[in-house]
Amino acid sequence: MSFEAVTLAELEAMSATEHNLLPYGVVGFSQDTTVNVYNATEARMAGLDASQVVGAHFFEAVAQCMNNFMVAQRFQDEPELDDIVPYVLTLRMRPTRVRLRLLARAGGLRRYILVER
């Protein structure tokens, strides 16, 4: 269940408790980018309470810094996506080098972004 190895199907099958135990950030969102999954690691890194994030539009309200051609646009353009990209996030407003894993499949319930700092 490492950052590199975990599959989209495994993420789909996990419970919220299991998501919370993962050592990297997990964000799952629907086709219209509404956040459904926001695990404890991500909440801690970003300093946000999951209850405030779930239900919000991810790229518009939560992660504006990913709302560009490097992340958001790829989810729009590529129905099948499994890629790891080096990135700089603004966790708690500090520039932080991370690796992002972008996961999507055609007809999938959710798309995922995994964050490893």
Binding site: A46, G47, L48, D49, Q52, A61, V62, A63, Q64, C65, M66, N67, N68, F69, M70, A72, Q73, Y87, V88, L89, T90, R92, M93, R94, P95, R97
Partner: protein, 428 residues
Amino acid sequence: MSDRSSEEELLEFLYACPVGLLECNAAGDIAMINPHAMQHLLPLTGSRDASNLFSALEQHAPELRSIANDFRPDTGKICDGHRIYVDLGTGRKVGSPQVLSCTLVKLGPDRLMATLADVSEQVVQERRLRQADTWFATLLDSVNGYATVEIDSDRKIVSANVCFTQLTGHDHLEVAGQDLDTVLGAEASGQVPRLGEQIEIAERDGWHLQEGWQQRAGGEHYWCQRLVVARSKSEMTRSGFFVVLRDVPQHNEGTADLQRLLMSDPLTGAANRRHLSQSMQQEQTHWRDFQQPFSLIVLDLDHFKSVNDIHGHPVGDLLLCGVVTACAMLLPPRGLFARLGGEEFAALLPRFDREEALALAEEMRKAIAALTVASSIGIVEATASFGCATIDEAQGSIDGLLALADARLYSAKRAGRNRVHRVEGRAA
């Protein structure tokens, strides 16, 4: 009472804030940054460092670093709404910013606050307004006639109207297929921008209007407005341009006098500081938009005070006028010779690289050394010391350019005067 901590509320506020905010030190290292700012910054950085503001913007706004460095006070506004053109080219998300606006505020000697906002829409609107203004001005001003010319993308004339014959003296039917530059003698006229550059701007902005002297086939000069409009690209035909030429009434004597008074030094007739500064800003825009470099020579007469002391001010004034006449004769068509003050002068040299500027400085040095002015107690001779610098060396900063040329002028003075300071190729 809310069960959310105020820190969490503040974080949410900063995460969702629709304006980019960041704080960095004087070197640009970012301490705090909100997501909106990072969203703008990250796509621009490529392999550069996204955690340093100046490195991140190095390619699109290299001047920002020097603007911040040149700001001396410990606190205050460094720049307000500085425009950064960040066209990322095709293949990028439609609607991603084309123009960012950056405001920098200095909070302390080593603490800067910046905002970044996408002003692409605003820029488009400004352009539309300017365009409307241009057309209104065209309609309202008194006009002797319009010549319209259609050219293809190679600047070859496709067609011209009857008025073209009347305005330019070239038969409108015979010019078809010819090069518009050649017909108008546009490249030789010394106009800024040149026709080719106007076309480049029109390709980007849709249109460009320029005013300057033009020559008719018979040799007569007339004051001409030249509007270049890009043809709509939706047509299936090859893209091309419409060029509208109109003969506008010449500036009357009064305006010309006023302009001369405002732009020149009353004693020598050389350009004044204000004119030089405006011209340098124009050239800086060219440097940024078309990568056209330019150079600056600064020169200072050697021991001028003693000329005034020994021979009197009228002789000193004659000598200054002689220097201007001698140096202005050596200038290239678009060059500008200005008096910075006292016995200090500058020459602005568009498109000159370092070697060309050094060569011209050497010619000026010889011309000044050959000058003589007669005084009641004998012949007065003069020499001058020179420093040159290019805008590339100053990373696009005008203040940097002046400072560099000045520093080299003073090395020439220290090295014994009557010389052009040559920069050594090796590192200091």
